[in-house]
């Protein structure tokens, strides 16, 4: 019944046999044990489960694990490098872009994609592209500021 899958998460290779119906987010959380990726709504509205799959921001509650076979995945745990925060993580800290912290991993992963698309985004662009991520604590004000801060502090693209 179970199906073998192999994928690279945050630079590390994982191989498991999983139920074909196992959602990718449950694989990441329960099987691999990376619990920074959260489940908030089950219907792809809240974005708490956002990860990067082959360079694209994706809601991991919307995909089966078997569909991600062979993929390269980054989760929130893979954003800081060598003990140094990613500028977006730093921005969320500097600008108080989080309160309870539950939506934060998804927000940060989405923000990374926004800044890839728009290295110097306007407030309107940020707000529009955050539409798929819900936060109940911050009213978004400081999340926007955090992403603006990150945009100013991102290293120049090589």
């Amino acid at each position: 019944m179970n199906v073998p899958v192999t994928m690279t998460i945050n630079g590390q290779k994982y191989s498991h046999e999983v139920e074909p119906r196992l959602l990718l987010v449950h694989y990441i959380r329960e099987v691999v044990g990376l619990t920074g990726t959260h489940v908030g709504c089950d219907t792809s509205q809240c974005g708490a489960c956002t990860i990067h799959l082959n360079g694209q921001a994706l809601k991991a509650c919307t995909m089966f694990t078997v569909q991600a076979d062979g993929a390269k995945i980054t989760t929130i745990e893979g954003m800081a490098k060598n003990g140094e925060l990613h500028p977006i993580q730093q921005g969320f800290w500097e600008k108080h872009g989080l309160q309870c912290g539950f939506c934060t991993p998804g927000m940060i992963m989405t923000a990374a994609q926004i800044l890839e698309r728009h290295p110097k985004p306007t407030e309107e662009q940020i707000r529009h592209q955050l539409e798929g991520n819900l936060c109940r604590c911050t009213g978004y004000h400081n999340i926007v500021k955090a992403i603006q801060w990150a945009a100013e502090h991102m290293p120049a693209k090589k």
Binding site: H38, Q99, C100, R136
Partner: protein, 787 residues
């Protein structure tokens, strides 16, 4: 990170100490807890709003691979879920953990299935077959009162749990008799669904070795959970139960209460001798988290010829849902009626509330809890009055303000509350200034000429935080005290652990409480650890709700610090062979006045307290203090909010052009954190004004049961906010806090509603019920154009 060398931390926007774990994905929320041998729970829920349960057949479910057990109310024989607030004459329906005989709302748990994996448990739940006999249901609190309405409980006629009044009926009647103008307005305060982004969850683990039950649960108040569950539901000693609320992903009230699921899961763990985990799907949050608001109200206000308010009469049907949630009766009574004086001098008020059962999810405290309902009522009626009296809405408010009272003498309202301190005009003046009120009014006039419809909304509000004192609460029906505990433990090396009964689920206590301690003891924040959320570590605690953490929980910590400093001074004086009164304590050092070289550092005193080699005779060794702080009164923050919106008359769409919030929350520990709470509160209140609505069909089917159907506030439909503060310290607690967690939600709903109605003024539309969706506005405009 800031240290003491930078001076006092009070009032500084220190970056949060809890953030590094959250931004790196290392928070520990309940669903992240993993235990060996874990099993998983899923619930079978009623698809009917009202039905007799004829039979439950779990035979097929028990055969599903991976299913361990299925339990119904036949097996789980524990006490019902308690209601923690009794009003005079209240009828409290029995609320079983799993539906017994009848299901009374869609989503009511009927059976629990335990599986080896979450998926197996869900498969099992699908395979449980329940035979229902559907009954007529009723979802509207007022219709539930009508003759012939479906009855939820035989023993509660007309579905009425309570009838409650406050104020002086005769005085109010007299005021209306002699009024020059009467403004009447029926109002709906629609049902909201809290939707903290972390769904509720619990993990129960019973140790056969110690007979101790440990429950990790998404709770705003772990001790209250333990008390209610141990004493009233599970009937086990409190000593045999430990409740841990680790990182909690937002609460907004919905995580105060004791719910069916955590009781069933705890019982199952004790029975199976294995850990059991349950995490709500969002659909389950919609169905079974306690909802908020849901009032049907008739309000009328009497005015003198000069535009002074002379009286207010209110009749409210409060929909409480199918059962009484933990604090349900409190919300539409004592947290509602006493707020009806607002910031205004109102000589006579009379308010009647009918607490009604209906075939809907239970309703309880949701951010603001009663105060938003009262404020929406007052502020909508004030706006209607301004239009009727042809006065500027800001001017009408100013005219009726209670004059400043900041000298310590409280202001007694006609509805029980004695406000601690207030100075309302400066906040309004500042909000008008920041919004460019006069200028925007001119723009509004000019825009109307061009067929653009701008609206300006003004709200001035009062809020009541830190419900208190315990003795009064007890006399009014509380099943709990309303004090808070704190404990400060100094280690021999001088590091300090603060144990607080408050609980942070986004509020940032690990930072703000440490700021207070760092200042008071003169030591760096790095030496201070703040612990919350674990009944095994904290003496007792009432938790966090009602914006009480700083004013009640923070004050308890301050009381501890006083005791610590007093004992430290005695030890330092002894070591320095000086009189206690001759010592100065500054920057973490006690020194002798006039001889600054004669000194003892914090660390030396802490160490000596534990070495006890040389402490005053008769003094106990050690350096720790516990305080239980019971405030003498609520605190009363206030403020003024102004919004500018544009309504597109062609589509009915509302755009918020500007939002200004000027709040007075007393003294502020960390402005960044307070601003953040105000921002979030505004968004939630705007959500109610424009989008959010928990909609049931007349017979009790929930239509807005997922985030696809329930419109949550999103980044692209909100503006950035302008925030500012006036500072009127509260005289009732040591540091002058008033409370900041709910002001945004309380003020923003009427502010936006007033702004939209102001924009629709040219169409002669006087009032629309929330949420003010494009469809509703478009219909109103279209109807007005036809006239």
């Amino acid at each position: 990170m800031a240290t003491v060398t930078e001076g006092r931390l009070f009032g500084k926007s220190i970056k949060r100490r809890e953030d590094p774990r959250f931004i790196t994905g290392r928070g520990t929320y309940v669903d992240d807890v993993k235990l060996p041998g874990m099993t998983y729970a899923a619930f079978v829920r009623s698809p009917h709003a009202h039905a007799r349960i004829k039979a439950i057949d779990a035979a097929r479910a028990r055969k599903v691979p991976g299913v361990i057990a299925v339990y119904t109310s036949q097996e789980i024989k524990v006490g019902g879920l308690p209601c923690g607030w009794m009003l005079p004459g209240i009828k409290v329906p029995t609320r079983p953990v799993l539906a017994q005989g009848k299901a009374r709302y869609v989503g009511e748990p009927v059976a629990i299935v335990i599986g080896e994996t979450p998926y197996a448990a869900k498969d099992g739940a699908e395979a449980v077959s329940v035979t229902y006999e559907a009954l007529q249901g009723v979802s509207d609190g007022k219709k539930a009162h009508q003759k012939g309405a479906p009855q939820l409980f035989d023993e509660i006629p007309s579905n009425q749990c309570f009838y409650w009044t406050i104020g002086d009926k005769a005085a109010a009647e007299a005021a209306f008799k002699s009024a020059a103008t009467v403004v009447s307005q029926p109002l709906l305060n629609q049902r909201l669904i809290p939707n903290a982004i972390e769904p509720r969850a619990c993990v129960a683990s019973h140790s056969p070795a110690t007979d101790e039950l440990t429950l990790w649960v998404t709770s705003q108040n772990p001790h209250v959970h333990r008390l209610l569950m141990a004493a009233f539901v599970l009937a086990i000693p409190e000593t045999k139960m430990r409740v841990i609320a680790p990182d909690v992903g937002g609460g907004f009230g919905s995580k105060i209460f004791v719910y069916n699921e955590e009781v069933a899961v705890s019982w199952a763990s004790r029975t199976l001798k294995r850990p059991v985990k349950w995490t709500a799907e969002r659909r389950e949050s919609f169905l079974n988290d306690a909802h908020g608001r849901d009032h049907v109200t008739e309000a009328e206000m009497a005015f003198s010829r000069e535009g002074q308010i002379t009286g207010l009469r209110v009749k409210t049907h409060a929909n409480l849902g199918a059962y009484l949630s933990t604090f349900a009766p409190l919300i539409p009574s004592y947290l509602y009626g006493p707020l009806l004086s607002g910031v205004y001098k109102i000589p006579a008020i009379f308010c009647e509330v009918w607490g009604m059962l209906s075939n809907t999810a239970p309703v309880d405290a949701y951010r603001g809890a009663g105060r938003p309902e009262a404020t929406f009522l007052l502020e909508r009626v004030m706006d209607r009055a301004a239009r009727q009296l042809r006065l500027d809405p800001a001017e009408l408010r100013r005219k009726n303000f209670i004059p400043a009272f900041t000298g310590g003498t409280p202001y007694q309202t006609p509805v029980a509350f004695a406000y601690d301190s207030g100075d309302y005009e400066p906040a309004l003046r500042r909000a008008l200034e920041l919004s460019g009120y006069e200028q925007v009014r001119r723009e509004q006039t000019a825009a109307r000429q061009k067929g653009r419809y701008l609206g300006i909304g003004v709200t001035t509000y009062i809020e009541a935080c830190g419900p208190a004192p315990s003795a009064v609460a007890g006399a009014l029906g509380a099943g709990a005290g309303l004090w808070e505990s704190g404990q400060v433990r100094v280690d021999p090396t001088g590091t300090v652990t603060v144990f607080t009964g408050s609980h942070s689920h986004g509020q940032g206590h690990e930072t703000t409480f440490a700021q207070i301690v760092a200042d008071e003891l003169g030591i760096p924040m790095e030496q201070i650890e703040v612990v919350h959320g674990d009944t095994a570590r904290i003496p007792f605690g009432m938790g966090t709700y009602g914006s009480r953490s700083a004013c009640v929980g923070g004050s308890a910590i301050v009381k501890c610090l006083d005791k610590i400093k007093e004992k430290g001074r005695k030890i330092a004086a002894h070591l320095l062979e000086a009189g206690e009164q001759d010592l100065v304590f500054q920057g973490g050092t006690w020194s002798v006045k006039g001889s600054p070289d004669k000194k003892k550092a914090w660390g030396e005193v802490a160490l000596m307290a534990y070495l006890a080699h040389n402490i005053p005779q008769g003094m106990e060794p050690g350096l720790e203090a516990t305080s239980f702080y019971d405030p003498v009164n609520f605190t009363f923050p206030f403020g003024a909010h102004v919004a500018v919106v544009e309504v597109d008359a062609e589509t009915g769409a509302v755009t918020i052009l500007k939002y200004v919030a000027v709040d007075d929350v007393g003294r502020v520990i960390n402005p960044m954190i307070v601003d953040g709470m105000v921002h979030g509160g505004i968004a939630q209140g705007v959500g109610q004004a424009l989008w959010e609505h928990g909609i049931y069909t007349d017979d009790g089917q929930l239509l807005s049961g997922t985030m696809m159907d329930y419109a949550m506030p999103k980044a692209d439909s909100l503006p950035s906010y302008v925030t500012d503060r006036t500072v009127t310290p509260s005289p009732i607690n040591p540091l002058g806090f008033k409370g900041a967690g709910e002001t945004g939600t309380i003020a923003s709903t009427p502010t936006i509603a007033n702004a939209v109605m102001d924009a629709l003024e040219p169409f002669g539309v006087r009032h629309l019920d929330m949420p003010l969706t494009p469809g509703k506005i478009w219909k109103a405009v279209a109807a007005a154009k036809k006239k």
